[in-house]
Symmetry: C2
Subunit: 762 residues, 2 copies
């Protein structure tokens, strides 16, 4: 008898409430007597706040509090992933020095949202403006934004082979490209929001967060409160994508306001905030070289990564650029490999995490280099990739940048992809004046973050383990309580499937509790980094074995049988092969909870908890292909076909996995073609931000391979980010294929109509 649930397309149980307006978003939290907050943000990108006059604010009917820098000077938030030598490791919640347009300068609290907004407009700011610094390359030579540091380079380190440069210098062929990635926004459908209430010495924070346990930790440290005096609740999250990984200055101010008021305070970011105050990501410049021998073997590759941190490192510090570095080699064999990473500050909004976390950038640079090399050497681009790709028998394999790829068949993914594209026959589409091309990209993806000690070595604030509590109630129903959260990714359903199979009960009897620090076990990182299922599910797998063992031990005692001869089946424990001899789960569970008739040494209760602290990372991988049509008159690029072959280990729910990948591809298409936050030279964002709609996203064909992870309990690898990693590279390669005359200049994303048209004109 196989697993009835793991591997099945079980409908997502969270959808019933999400689709019927019953989701428990922060915006739906209404507490009696709530006040409302509005953040006052800096209109200038760089300068000093010399003072602010709140007289007019207080004159507005209903205003109850005005929090300015003096009130919050003591509050700082940490960078949780601090790279070696990183020069800024925390940042203030409010600061008199302004380093980006949109920086919070004050919080106005009032009895109605309207009063708060009206009053916030009246805060009289006395500003001394300074010149802005926009763009990472310009920042290298600009006056330091933090004069005490003497430089705008906040982090600078190298990885890989020291003799890589020499290998490139001596190689037969060298391809060099400079790739620029635009700044994009995670742009979750649900804006960030907080409802904070302070009563009985306890701060209760409803917040749209991917990591409520982390929020609790950071607020406790910021406010100097014992951790247990803070409860953080994040029941349903309408998308996070990394943007809701940690707590923000504005969110911290709302908590401060609640503590000052002794009443609940409610706040939601405005649409404008979402593009400035919510951390954006990806902006970087890669100077990259790929060296090949006469047979097209990859002799060496080096990359200089220059990342734009914005005004200060975000919550995850500069680690997104470190992940770029560690995943740059992808699924290939290189004779030598080296990377240098620099993160610089600029007078733009701080950058942070975004689904993919440095990996789409790494993939774009590497895969563009390979396509360009194939073009120059006259080798088929798929053949060139296959020639240099790590074969399954070479795994496990540790790369020059220290990643140990655990398992997989990378060539099979690419060959499968090529077959899919060929079957689709897209290159034979009719001629409508547009020029067509197909592009490929391959990647290896780090998932299942991650080993606590590794993370500590990185200076991370928390290890990478997850915990799960499993309780079987007296009626035989099962409650799963986990530290990971439901951010729309379907984790609630996947954990229910796992629990049902690993214990042996119908899925209808399983309830999953997430997103409340008071009722769920500690999660050291949260639902980020494609880790909820491989790490959280790993903990669940371990706990379920314990629960099942306890059930079987009690049943064995009751039935006078050996536990090994018994199995949990539906609503009873029965003798294998003799289903007539059984004892109902309800009876066993009642007996366990009430402490009756238990075998010697078995404690009362039927609740097990376990943690899974990974000893190593696990690595998923994938291959993407895009077919595009480019209108040479306008430069507009349309994605006409998209194919993904992905291997994320054991598939718990193929429908959820496909949905995750399709959503990620859609975001990747936006990043490749339309989405970008642009700043004027004086640091003002001037963005008409265009996430793709159903018109821009074609049907996406997803084929899953399934190589179990040898690392995680249950064999799952993560899949949350997979979809986002390939599209910029595949689409840029497709555009280059469609327009061979400008192929070597197709290096920057997004490939907006304006950018493509300009390339064609040049």
């Amino acid at each position: 008898m196989g697993d009835p649930y793991v591997g099945a397309r079980t409908p997502r149980r969270e959808d019933a409430r999400l689709l019927t307006g019953k989701a428990r978003y922060v915006g739906n939290v209404r507490l009696p007597g709530s006040l409302h907050a509005c953040v006052v943000r800096s209109p200038i990108a760089h300068g000093r706040l010399l003072g602010c006059d709140a007289k007019a604010v207080w004159a507005v009917e209903g205003v109850t509090d005005v929090i300015t820098t003096a009130d919050a000077a003591h509050l700082r938030l940490p960078c949780v992933n601090v790279l070696p030598g990183q020069r800024i490791t925390s940042y203030p919640v409010l600061d008199d020095t302004i380093r980006y347009a949109g920086q919070p300068l004050a919080l106005v609290v009032a009895r109605t949202p309207e009063a708060a907004r009206d009053a916030a407009d009246l805060l009289d700011l006395d500003l001394d403006e300074l010149p802005a610094t926009v763009g990472a390359e310009r920042a290298l030579d600009a006056p330091p934004l933090y004069p005490e540091l003497g430089t705008n380079v906040i982090t600078d380190f190298a990885m890989g082979d020291e003799d890589c440069g020499a290998a490139i210098d001596g190689a037969e062929h060298v391809v060099e490209l400079v790739c620029r990635m635009g700044r994009v926004s995670p742009y979750p459908l649900e804006p960030r929001g907080v409802v904070a209430a302070y009563a009985d010495d306890e701060l209760i924070v409803h917040i749209s967060s991917q990591a409520p346990h982390h929020v609790r930790e950071h607020l406790a440290e910021a406010f100097g409160l014992p951790h247990d005096r803070i409860r953080v609740i994040s029941r349903d999250i309408g998308g996070g994508f990394g943007a809701k990984e940690h707590v923000y200055p504005d969110e911290t101010l709302v908590c401060l306001a609640a503590m000052r008021a002794g009443r609940p305070v409610s706040w939601t970011e405005s649409p404008g905030d979402r593009l400035t105050a919510t951390m954006s990501a990806r902006q970087a410049v890669h100077r990259a070289r790929l060296a090949l021998d006469g047979d097209g073997r990859f002799v060496a590759m080096d990359v200089d990564v220059l990342g734009d941190l914005g005004a200060h490192p975000g919550n995850t510090g500069a680690s997104t650029f470190a992940v770029t570095a560690t995943l740059l080699p992808g699924p290939y064999r290189f004779g030598r490999f080296a990377v240098r990473v620099r993160g610089v500050v600029t007078t733009t909004a701080p950058a942070g995490s975004y689904r993919g976390f440095g990996q789409p950038e790494a993939t774009l640079t590497r895969e563009r280099l390979i396509d360009e090399a194939a073009r120059r050497l006259g080798i088929d681009r798929v053949e060139l990739r296959l020639r240099n790709m790590l074969r399954p028998e070479e795994l496990p394999c540790t790369t020059a940048v220290g990643q140990t790829y655990d398992s997989g068949d990378y060539p099979r993914a690419l060959r499968t992809l090529r077959d899919l594209v060929q079957e689709a026959g897209v290159e034979r589409r009719g001629d409508d004046g547009r020029r067509r091309g197909v592009g490929y990209s391959c990647h290896v993806e780090t998932t299942g973050l991650g080993p606590s000690m590794d993370l500590k070595a990185m200076g991370a604030a928390a290890g990478g383990y997850e915990s799960v509590v499993l309780r079987m109630e007296q009626d035989g129903s099962v409650v799963v309580s986990a530290g990971v959260v439901s951010i729309g990714q379907g984790i609630e359903t996947a954990l229910a499937q796992l629990a049902a199979d690993r214990i042996g009960v119908p899925i209808e009897r399983v309830r999953v509790l997430l997103g409340d620090t008071a009722t769920t076990p500690y999660s050291s990182i949260g639902s980020i980094a494609s880790r909820s299922l491989p790490v959280g599910g790993g903990a669940l797998t371990k706990a379920a074995l314990k629960l099942r063992d306890k059930l079987l031990a009690i049943a064995a005692h009751r039935l006078e049988a050996a536990a090994a001869d018994l199995e949990v089946a539906g609503d009873a424990v029965r003798v294998k092969g003799d289903p007539a001899v059984s004892v109902p789960l309800r009876e066993l569970a009642t007996s366990a909870w009430r402490g009756w008739d238990l075998p010697d040494g078995v404690a009362p209760g039927l609740e097990e908890r376990d943690s899974y602290d990974p000893t190593g990372y696990t690595f998923a991988y994938g291959a993407h292909a895009a077919a595009v049509a480019v209108d040479p008159e306008t430069g507009a690029v349309e994605v006409e076909g998209y194919w993904v072959v992905n291997d994320a280990g054991v598939l718990v729910n193929p429908a959820v996995v496909e949905g995750q990948i399709m959503g990620g591809v859609a975001q990747g298409i936006g990043e490749a073609l339309t989405e970008e936050i642009v700043f004027t030279d004086d640091g003002q964002p001037i963005t008409d931000y265009l996430p793709p709609t159903t018109r821009e996203v074609p049907d996406i064909r997803v084929v899953m391979l399934e190589t179990p992870s040898p690392v995680t309990p249950g064999g799952m690898k993560g899949v949350g980010e997979a979809g986002t990693i390939g599209p910029p590279a595949a689409i840029a390669n497709a555009v280059a294929a469609a327009l061979p005359e400008i192929a070597d200049r197709v290096t920057d994303v997004p490939l907006t109509p304006g950018r493509v048209w300009s390339l064609l004109q040049a």
Copy 2:
């Protein structure tokens, strides 16, 4: 270095909120959009509800629901302690057959409490009245209230020596008394109340309850809901005294109303409800004989206990009378001992639990018999007691009714008491026309309920274990989460003291979470039966050892020392004898939670849970003395002095213990002198209920002995009920001593002025 907290008079931490209006009583729970309920109760004691017309109810503005018997016919509540052969084991929430005045017949729900009350008055009941049956003795011969049972005797069993009657028949002296105990009410200051909310398939019930986990269980079973779909919250309880041990029909109806409405429904019992709908207790008739030889040795004793259950057994069934039976022998040696117990139904409100639970009744009967025997034999009553009392070297000792007294020095308690009374010199008070006397009583008390298997043998619905979760947060603060609840008894402070000492941290770092099924571990019984500290504190003691061991193991790894050489001291773990070598708790706790640098085999996290499932009961004991003045003109009895010597094992907080005993004595004085719920012959309560005020309660002198329990971890015995057990006996003996001419007729409580005056006239 001794314990800094255990044994100290640490101020009660709960008092800050209780005394400043910040207690989290149900009445303070305000949920947006709440509806309000009013219970319609039967005006007659016995009959049939033929129908009810709600037209006029619905016509009241704001009425949203009317729940009548047809809507709740399927809902039943269980008797959790079912005695062998007990004929009724559950009862309906609503019933067309009426068996007491005040029985719920319907629930009216409206937008305001006023509308609900006004509308409830308009429900038109069509009633068919039948004759009432009032009084347990009358019920023996009355037509059966449950015709299908053929009798009003619901339970009937015997315990003890079969040849006891023969021993009495052959004895030199036999004293025979018939003692009658009035029906009294636990009468907590905070009325019962419920705020129930149903949303997202979850029923959240704020209820003033001593056993929230039990409430959850019973509601789940009544409604057929999975247990995990119900959360019960009982944060602060303004007294329970047994009345709030389980869930009531009216409370269940409020939950049903919330489920029907999909909105919160709020209800509080009315002052009138408290004496009828809230379970009362104690009413019983004891026919008792004590046989002595010529030296005053107790040859034998037998008692016929006839208990009045009211209309049906309450939540605890008839077990209160069983406890009377098992504690009737008290601290004495008897040649033979026997008891018969019958519980009968009458057309009065159901009887239930009340602090003391059968033990004040047992003590009254036994101690009156002994005083009467002393008078008749001309032996000093204290000497007679000492002559027959079990000596410390005779313990452990199993009585004829199966109780194994574990430890104590009963004669020492009585001798200490006599010395106290003699020092006070009360018998030499001036002559104001009143007649004075002193009375003594001794008892052994069962506490620490109790062994799960024993309770199952009694048919109880739950075992007697308790669980505690102890968490040390990253900042070194400690959170205690326990299944017992704060009913005013000071358990929050006592658990904090225990945790602080057993782990080794300052008490200011300890927070105690109680009273929420979502955040506290399962409690199989709740805060009843003087068990919160011996059983809950026992679990805490075990969990604290585990937490401390884990801390020391991590510190040993860090300090490269042996764990045995280390100790927790304040905010660090240090080497014993070398305090300079230490590691801060904050550092150890952070390392544990974040999964860094832990010794092999140590899981991340710093949270331990343990249960304590007693293998046997533990027995406290005490001796009480009362000095009274009786006004022969009016029959009024004044208690002029009161002394208690009590031994409850290890004292965690002497101030809390003394407070518990004084409060119990006050209730006992009420029971002895003024409190009684009286019914007319047609079953109507006609009560001017008079709990004692500060004018009726004298200064009470309490002296504590301290014999550690050999049974419980930590050595604590319970003390919550101790104060209530002695007063009726001591005061009745004092009245008998003051009025020797009527001494043999001083058998019934309360000894109201009317009753004493009548005895003096007869």
